[in-house]
Every structure is written in C-alpha cells, then in structure tokens.
C-alpha cells in the first residue's frame, strides 16, 4: 500500500472520529470512549505508517530524505504529532471532551494536505540547504510544541464553553491544569525547536538569527507563551484569562505555520 492510500484512510478515520466525538458530547455518552479511544490509536498508527511509507518512497525514488520538507509532508507529520500528544494527555487525565476539538482540526489539516491545489504532493529531492540532520530535529521539536499548544487550545475552548454552560463542575479545574501543563510542554519543545533551528541556520547560512518572518513569528509565539507562563507562575493567572491567552497563542502558532508561508516571503519559503 502506498503512502497516500494510508494517509487517505487515516484522514477518513479522523473525520469519523470527529463525528463520533460530536455524538459523544451532544448525547452525553461517555461510554463511547470504549470505541473512540482504541479507534484514535489505530488512526494514529495508520497516519504514522503512511508517513513512514512516504519516507520509504523517497528512498525508492533515490532521494532518501525524512519527509518534513514541504507543506504536504509537514501537514501529515504535524497531524500525527497532534494526535499523539492528544492521546498521551487523554491517557493521563481522562478528560474525554478534547477529541471534539482535536479531530476536526486534524482532519481539516489532512484533507487540506491531500486536496488543496496549493499543496504539492510530489517527492522532490532536497535543495542543498535542507540536506541536514538538523532538519529532522528542528522540525519535529517544533511540531511537538505546536501539538501541545493545539491540545491546550482545545482545552481552553472546552473551558470557556463549560464556563458559559453548567459552570463549576470539577472538570474545569482539570481543564485549567491541562491548559497550563500543555503550554509548559509546548514551550519547552518550541524553545528546543528554535534553538536547534538556530544551530542549523548557523551551519547553513552563517547566521544563527536573521529576523526572517518565520523566525520572527516563532519568537512572537514563544513570547506569548512566555507571558502566559509568567502570568501563571508569578501572578497566578488561572481560568478564563489563562484560557483566552492560550487561544491567542494558538492563533500565533497558526500564523507561524500557515500565515508566514502564504502571506510573507522569506528564507523558510520552501516549507
């Protein structure tokens, strides 16, 4: 089976998962987790397998590179990162409601990757600047960071909805804790991602920082989450304010990931 078939299957399962989670929330059926959770792990496995298959296909064409070098590969990779982080959080906290936010986002990303005319699916060998192992370290750490921020975004939306509705169930406190922890994790990963990117830039271009739009936007994102963590740790911002700040942070993540590529030109323009 080739990579696009496998990735297509995972996209389809993610879509069904979105519907399943909607059903779970709307009809208040937490029992469906018994099906939804194993299905999520299975979809994740297919997604990762599809991505690895893509890797194998690059070897078959004789170019052999880790598939993280264009929008198509980036989207399929970030999707499995998000689902992986989501499932780890879910396994630890058993919150249940995050899936209804995560799966629509992931299926949207996957569908966009395979259907949009803006996204080129061809395997193209790497230009010289990208031929570096730092590509893998840099991109994967950044993506894991983005994934944690995505989970925190889901928790933040869930928190705000709960606040409007049946308010003070003890779930809100747990959600607040997830927002904080996911942001902390994401912050660490983004920090490592920026540093590894900087090491790579220094080796490839001779400048560890050039204020390229992608770099600058990753710094802006970093600053927003740094503000969140300071507000939390030294001023004890919790609840609504923290949730809103997380959503703002996630908008910056989205702009760093998509906006910079489509709206601003720069050194990262190949990705």
């Amino acid at each position: 089976m080739n990579s696009s078939t496998l990735l297509g299957i995972s996209t389809f399962v993610y879509l069904i998962m979105s519907v399943g989670h909607l059903y779970r929330i709307l009809f208040k059926k937490p029992d469906t987790d018994k099906i939804l959770m194993p299905a999520a792990w299975a979809a994740l496995a297919v997604n990762v397998l599809g991505w690895i298959m893509r890797w194998i296909e690059t070897q078959q064409t004789g170019h052999a590179y880790v598939p993280l070098s264009n929008m198509y590969e980036a989207l399929t990779a970030v999707s499995w990162c998000v689902v992986l982080v989501y499932l780890l959080v879910e396994r630890k906290y058993r919150i249940g409601i995050l899936g209804v936010f995560i799966f629509p986002l992931v299926s949207l990303a996957m569908a966009y990757a395979s259907l949009s005319p803006n996204v080129n699916q061809q395997i193209q060998p790497l230009i010289p600047a990208l031929q570096s192992n730092w590509l893998t370290y840099h991109v994967l750490t950044c993506f894991l960071g983005y994934s944690a921020f995505t989970v925190s975004f889901g928790a933040a939306i869930a928190y705000l909805i709960k606040l409007m509705g049946d308010s003070t169930t003890d779930n809100t406190q747990l959600l607040d804790e997830i927002i904080y922890r996911a942001n902390a994790m994401g912050f660490i990963m983004l920090t490592i991602g920026i540093i590894t990117g900087s090491v790579w830039a220094s080796r490839a271009w001779g400048a560890y920082w050039s204020w390229d739009p992608k770099e600058t936007w990753s710094l802006i994102t970093w600053i927003i989450y740094a503000i969140f963590l300071h507000a939390r740790l030294s001023r004890d911002w919790r609840g609504k304010k923290a949730a809103i700040l997380s959503i703002v942070g996630f908008c910056a993540v989205l702009f760093t990931f998509f906006g910079v590529n489509y709206l601003l030109a720069g050194l990262h323009s190949y990705a």
Partner: protein, 471 residues
C-alpha cells in the same frame, strides 16, 4: 526621585509582560513591512505614509535604536528580577533542616493540626513510611521529653530553574552583543584566484582577513534530469605568507572554520573576465578592414594603422544610471553588461562612449572612422562564499543550553518541604503538619493524602475525649 520605586518597577513581572508585548508588536510590524528596501520602494507602496515608516525606522525595525532600547530594557528587567530573588534563593539553598517555630508553620500554605491521646514510639516508623509513600524522606530534627519534630525536604534544585532560564536568556543577549564585534561578509572567488578581501554589507565596505583563501575548484551538481540543484562544493585552500596551510572541501551545511572565521558555501555565479572583452570594429569607409579583437580592461590597444588607439575604462556587469547620471552596477550578475570605451587619435582623447552588449548589432556607436561593437565578455565561474566571525556564538549555545535545562527543572521538579511535630499537652498532645512547595497544585493533593494517613496512624481525639483527658 524615589529610588526604591524605580527599583520595584524595574524588577516587576508587570514590566516584563509589557516589554515582551511591545517587542512582539514591533516584530509583527517588522514582518509585515518589507525590510531594508530602497526609499523609492516605500514611496511607491505606502505613498504618503512612507515618511512615517522611515521616520520610525520601521524599514529596519530590528536594528532601530528604539527596538534595541526595548531589548536593553528587557535585559535590565531580567537582571533586576533575578537579583531580587537571589537572596531568598541563597537562604533556601543554605537552609539546614531545623525546627521551625509555631508561627512560621502556621503561615505555611498547608497547615493542619489535631489533638491526639498519646504518642507512641511505634508511630514514628509508620509516619516515616507514610511520608516515603509520597516520595520524601523524614528526619528527626528535634526530640525532647516535651515532644518530637520531623522534617522532610525534596527537590531543592527546583529553585535553580528560574536562575538557569533567566541566565540562559541573558547569555544569549550577551552573545548577540558580542556578535556585533565580529563581522559578516561575502567573497566572490573565481576558480584559481586568491583573495583576502571580504565585502561587508551591500559591498560598500570591505575587510581584509589576515590570511588568504584560494578557490581551487567549484562544482555544482543537479539532480539527474532536472535543473534542481543537488549540491554546491568548493575546494578551498588557506594561504598564509605565500604558503598553502590547508585544503578543504566545503559544501552547504558543511562550513570550514579557520582562525575564528567560518567560511560557508553560499552561492555561485559568473562574473565577467576583464581580460577577455570581445570587441568588433568596423570601419565607416572601405579603406580599412573590419576586425574582431580581444582586449583587456584598462589596457591600451592600437587600431589598424597605428594612428588611433582605444582603452576600455570600465566594465559594469549590470548597467544602471542613477538620478545624478552616475553609472553603477545594480548587481554583480551579467544582466546588462556595458563597457566604457575611450578613443584616442595620436594620443589625444577624442571621444568616449558606453557600449552595450544587448545593442551590439545596432550601429549606434559611430566614433571617428570606426563603429565599435561590444560583442561580449568571457565569464568566469566564481564560488560565492559567506564569511562570518561570530565571537559570541559559544555564549548563544551556552545560553540555549541553560535555558532548556532550566525549563526542564522548572516544569519537572518541585521543591517540597514538610514539617511534622508532636507536642505534649497535658496527658495527650497535639500533632501538627505544615508543608510548602513552589508548585502547589500537585503537592496539595499529595499532602491531603498524607494528612489522612497520619491521622489514621495517630488517631484523632474527639472533643468529648479531650474534655475527659483534661479532668
């Protein structure tokens, strides 16, 4: 002025948040407005607002004085915050397990106290066990006939995270300042040539290295059957005092560092070979023959008959004329090459003119008894090197390391302290548990469990029992 107040402001988290916000907003402008373009560019895109952009230096946001001032303010804030916490930090790090008085314990975020009938020595072991359950090791710090005190502590290192992160960021900023003492430039080195001259900035300044670089060979490979570049490679030799010191092949992502200068493969291209300018000369009458000659830049070339001679004064690869009618080259690429030719008759200057390659066949350049046609110029492949001296780089990496390690310490460790005391009162006594941590959320639930466990071990004297014991 109130110095104390300034100090408090400078070390406040509120200032941190505001400065970080301002830096973000400035950076957003910097990404939305194209940077370092010509004034004409801003005029054509932003019209009357161009003045605002250049006035606020938004055309070079990240190097503007106000942006640097913001970063300096951030650094000051960072130093102030860090030093403010330093004394508290030292006190905690030096803290030896000791008995705390009742007042201190009562002020802790977790404080619980209850009366017991009696205290038996066997309970010590059980309490010890209960504390071990939550990952701490209890020690006896005071035992008198009046009672007994225990203390447990874990994760002192957690307090270092804050300093490691902040020191890391400061190191990075210091590294950035030190980078300013280095340089970043480029060198276009044709195969076989040697140079020590580095062009800095837009090429208007230059710098001489204290060694020379020779390009022995340049090679570009493409992916089979495509124009897509696969790799650029240069074989470089470092020359010092006329001797070859070392030879290395550099590639993109594989630079060479020599004497603190790192040499990167950045680009390649062709530049005109000034020794091989091809000129067509056609006589305007039939008394002379047409000829094709190769001339060198700046060298006198006599024409047929010996009466006339020419000199090529200048060669520009990409001809452009500015507002003041000054000729310059827009780029170093041969996009619009032109030469300036002077004609002399019996060593007397009689005319000069610009000849363009693209208009070569167009006989516009009649001069004396000749038509001159600029037929071309040989190209030389050059390797585009980037040269950087970055004396602050090691500080950047050290800072990045401290920052990352510090974050792990902050988020994965916590400093926990627990005091447990028994104090004799009448026939019975009172058990007190107090605890504190720098990460309360998880610790609170752990402590609730511990308090329940200890209550179970010692038992709680009910009010009626207590009344009885006092009789």
């Amino acid at each position: 002025m109130n110095l104390k107040k300034i100090e408090t402001t400078l070390s406040s988290t509120k200032l941190t948040i505001w400065v970080l916000l301002l830096i973000s907003v400035a950076s957003i402008f910097g990404t939305l407005i194209p940077q370092n373009e010509s004034i004409e560019f801003y005029r054509s895109v932003y019209g009357s607002k161009a003045g605002v952009i250049t006035g606020l230096a938004l055309n070079d946001t990240y190097h503007s004085s106000w942006f640097i001032a913001l970063i300096a303010l951030f650094a000051i804030n960072l130093i102030a915050c860090t030093t403010k916490k330093w004394t508290v930090f030292l006190r905690i790090m030096r803290h030896k397990p000791r008995d705390a008085d009742a007042k201190t314990l009562k002020a802790m975020s977790i404080y619980h106290s209850w009366p017991v009938k009696t205290y038996k020595d066997t309970m010590t072991g059980e309490i010890h066990q209960a504390v071990r359950q939550i990952g701490l090791n209890l020690k006896i710090i005071g035992a008198t006939s009046n009672g007994i005190s225990f203390f447990a502590e874990k994760g002192k290192i957690s307090r270092c995270g804050f300093f490691s992160v902040h020191a890391g960021i400061l190191l990075i900023l210091m590294g950035a300042v030190l980078t300013g003492f280095g340089f970043r430039g480029s060198m276009m080195l044709p195969e076989g040539e040697t140079s020590s001259k580095v062009a800095i900035g837009q090429g208007d300044r230059s710098k001489n290295l204290d060694f020379q670089i020779r390009c022995d060979e340049f090679e570009m490979t493409t992916y089979q059957g495509t124009q897509r570049p696969k790799g650029y490679k240069s074989r470089l030799t470092i020359v010092e005092d006329g001797h070859d010191v070392l030879t290395r092949i550099i590639e993109v992502n594989r630079p060479l560092t020599y004497k603190g200068v790192t040499i990167y493969q950045a680009s390649y291209g062709t530049i005109p070979d000034t020794d091989r300018i091809f000129l067509g000369i056609e006589p305007t009458d039939s008394s002379r023959e047409a000829q094709r000659i190769t001339v060198k830049l700046g060298e006198k070339t006599s024409l047929q008959g010996g009466e006339y001679h020419i000199i090529i004064d200048r060669l520009v690869p990409d001809f452009v004329m500015d507002k003041n009618c000054e000729v310059s080259s827009r780029t170093h690429v041969m996009r619009n090459p032109a030469i300036s030719l002077s004609l002399y008759k019996n060593n007397e200057h009689i005319s000069d003119q610009w000849l363009f390659l693209q208009q070569g066949s167009f006989h516009a350049s009649r001069s004396g008894p000749w038509h001159f046609i600029f037929m071309g110029v040989s190209g030389k492949t050059y390797t585009g090197l980037q040269l950087t001296k970055s004396p602050g780089l090691w500080l950047i990496w050290l800072g990045g390391f401290c920052l990352t390690v510090g974050l792990f310490i902050i988020f994965f460790t916590s400093h926990e302290r627990i005091w447990i005391k028994f104090k004799k009162e009448g026939n019975g006594g009172v058990i007190t548990i107090a605890a504190s941590s720098n990460r309360m959320t998880m610790f609170k639930s752990k402590m609730t469990g511990l308090i329940q466990a200890v209550e179970k071990i010692t038992g709680i004297l009910t009010t009626s029992e207590r009344a009885n014991s006092h009789e």
